[in-house]
């Protein structure tokens, strides 16, 4: 076998994590992006900055704050304990929440650009054709922004797969629970298992390349405005 069982387990965990995070961010990032694309409120600037923070912040900084917030003395930690959910750090769902923050800009920014490029006109047209704003969003804005949705989802998925620092801070290194592929490679290197590290790294390299290839080469043509 090319990869051993724990490698496969790490890959499966990584895919599951990235998939769930992408789904959550589709639901969460879409309204944020929509609002950012259309609002003229003064706090649009500050909110854009907050959304973009994970782009520039060292992952360990983000992970550190999230660890504090979700820990036994943090507000999120006290909340989850009160709900009887226990503490989130070092669990899969803790990792999911951390990754949602970490990958937020990769969902929001392409979507925001897509929504902005649609402009006001198609929605005004929809309104004159009796479509309520929500109706117009789903039947006009979403279909016109479809390439943006695709780009945003691929980027979010890929970026979550590539996450390392935040995982180490929040999730540690529990096999099957928080040990994702990037951490597994780190472990292999620590243990001087260079062959295993090579194999898993090669898989990651090919995956990343294919994702980017899909994104750039086979990018869906934007629907031309008529």
């Amino acid at each position: 076998m090319f990869l051993n069982d724990s490698d496969l387990q790490a890959i499966w965990l990584t895919i599951r994590l990235a998939g769930i995070v992408t789904l959550i961010l589709l639901l969460l990032g879409t309204p944020i992006a929509w609002w950012l694309a259309r609002s003229k409120a003064w706090w649009k600037g500050p909110l854009s900055a907050v959304v973009a923070l994970p782009l520039v912040l060292p992952p360990s900084v983000l992970g550190f704050y999230l660890l504090l917030a979700m820990g036994p003395n943090g507000p999120v930690g006290q909340f989850t304990t009160a709900l009887g959910l226990g503490l989130l750090p070092f669990t899969f769902w803790g990792l999911v929440i951390a990754s949602v923050f970490y990958s937020l800009p990769f969902m929001v920014q392409p979507l925001q650009t897509a929504f902005e490029s649609i402009g006001e006109r198609p929605l005004e047209v929809a309104a004159t054709l009796r479509a309520s704003p929500l109706d117009a969003f789903f039947t006009v804005a979403v279909p016109l922004a479809l390439p943006g949705f695709l780009t945003a989802s691929i980027l979010t998925f890929a970026h979550t797969v590539g996450e390392f620092g935040v995982v180490l801070m929040i999730g540690g290194n529990i096999p099957g629970v928080t040990r994702v592929a990037s951490v597994q490679i780190y472990d292999h290197v620590e243990a001087l298992e260079y062959l295993q590290a090579h194999r898993l790294s090669a898989v990651m390299l090919v995956f990343s390349f294919v994702v980017l290839l899909v994104l750039y080469a086979w990018r869906p043509k934007p629907v031309r405005g008529a």
């Binding site: 005004e124 031309r224 008529a226």
Partner: protein, 363 residues
């Protein structure tokens, strides 16, 4: 109360709109003015795309906006044709036509038992049946605009709004669409507000006109009367003049001429290929009208009509004067030099003969 009562006040940086209009319940009302005069903004206020805080709008007795209420655009039974073609690129022509229809089921059934019939009629009127399966990017500019007109019509709106629907098209495409608009004009039993800065479109299509200048309505009324106002000469195109509704009464095949009758008289014009009985419009520019005290013989001018001087006024140059005459009930404007007016001893109430050098048949 029928018709449209619209009062809007907007105060934007660098632009103010302040209008109080009472528009007829039928026919085409042109909102005419230069760019920046507020015509599009006024139309957007009526559609609810722009919010005027102290506005009031009643359409055929239904309140769309007053101090207490404000109907959002999607609840107003209107049809809107935007300046640039605004078809949804992700839907076929038929998909575009159905988009509004599917959402207006309730209000459409009041008018027609079968909403599909309205769609069918719109497809027929605009001549787009052969385009239904195409995507908008496979249509010419003129075809797209015809589809968006059909899309608005298929809703069976109570009010049709068009924002310079021909402005983005070249001359040839315009000529291709105008006949459809004229058909629409004749078939329509609802008011159509037509924003335009193109004099030829207004002369061809409008029954009423609202002239906007810097956000204010400077003149409003039936097209023929408003164009014949001397206190406010409206230059529709190259010069002031009147537009008269007429009917083709006779065709002289030997000379390629047609006689058109308007209330009060008739005129010989170049044969435009219309059939006898067809409604047409003629435009007579003030500079092409001269005046004689007796019927003149031995002239090349074909059209000579008995008229009465109604009103006289100065013109843009002190050497000139502008006269309004009546041929029966129809007004005609004439431009003379002050010297000829005085020389002929013209005065209101005087019977004279007007010689019309040129008559333009406009559709």
């Amino acid at each position: 109360m029928g018709g449209i009562q619209a009062r809007f006040k907007l105060d934007w940086p660098g632009f103010a709109l302040d209008v109080d209009l009472d528009l007829p319940a039928r026919g085409v009302t042109a909102l005419f003015g230069h760019s920046g005069s507020g015509k599009t903004t006024l139309l957007r206020c009526i559609a609810g795309l722009e919010r005027s805080p102290q506005g009031r709008l009643t359409v055929n007795g239904a309140v769309w906006q007053d101090d207490a209420r404000w109907l959002p655009t999607h609840q107003r039974p209107l049809g809107y044709v935007f300046q640039e073609a605004s078809l949804f690129p992700h839907l076929t022509v038929l998909g575009n036509l159905r988009y509004g229809l599917q959402r207006s089921g309730g209000s459409a059934t009041q008018h027609t038992p079968d909403p599909g019939a309205a769609l069918d009629a719109a497809i027929e009127l605009l001549g787009i049946r052969h385009l239904l399966e195409r995507k908008p990017d496979r249509l010419s500019g003129g075809e797209r605009q015809r589809v968006s007109m059909a899309r608005a019509l298929a809703l069976r709106p109570r009010l049709l709004l068009m924002d310079e629907p021909l402005a983005a098209l070249d001359h040839q495409r315009k000529q291709e669409i105008l006949p459809y608009l004229e058909r629409l004009h004749r078939a329509l039993d609802i008011p159509l507000l037509y924003v335009s800065h193109a004099p030829d479109e207004v002369a061809r299509l409008a029954d009423h006109i609202v002239v906007l200048e810097a956000g204010r309505a400077v003149a409003t009324g039936p097209l023929t009367d408003t164009l014949a106002r001397l206190d406010l000469p409206i230059q529709l195109g190259e010069d002031v003049g009147v537009v008269l509704d007429a009917v083709v009464a006779e065709r002289d095949a030997a000379w390629h001429l047609a006689r058109v009758e308007f209330p009060g008289g008739s005129l010989w014009v170049r044969d435009g290929g219309q059939r006898i009985g067809d409604p047409v419009r003629v435009r007579i520019l003030a500079r092409d009208v001269s005046i004689a005290l007796q019927p003149v013989n031995g002239t090349s001018i074909q059209n000579c009509l008995a008229a009465t001087v109604e009103q006289m006024a100065g013109d843009h140059h002190p050497a000139l004067s502008l006269l309004r005459l009546r041929v029966g009930p129809s007004p005609v404007l004439a431009r003379l030099t002050q010297r000829s007016a005085v020389g002929l001893g013209l005065a209101p109430g005087m019977p004279v003969w007007v010689q019309i050098k040129a008559v333009a048949l406009i559709g």
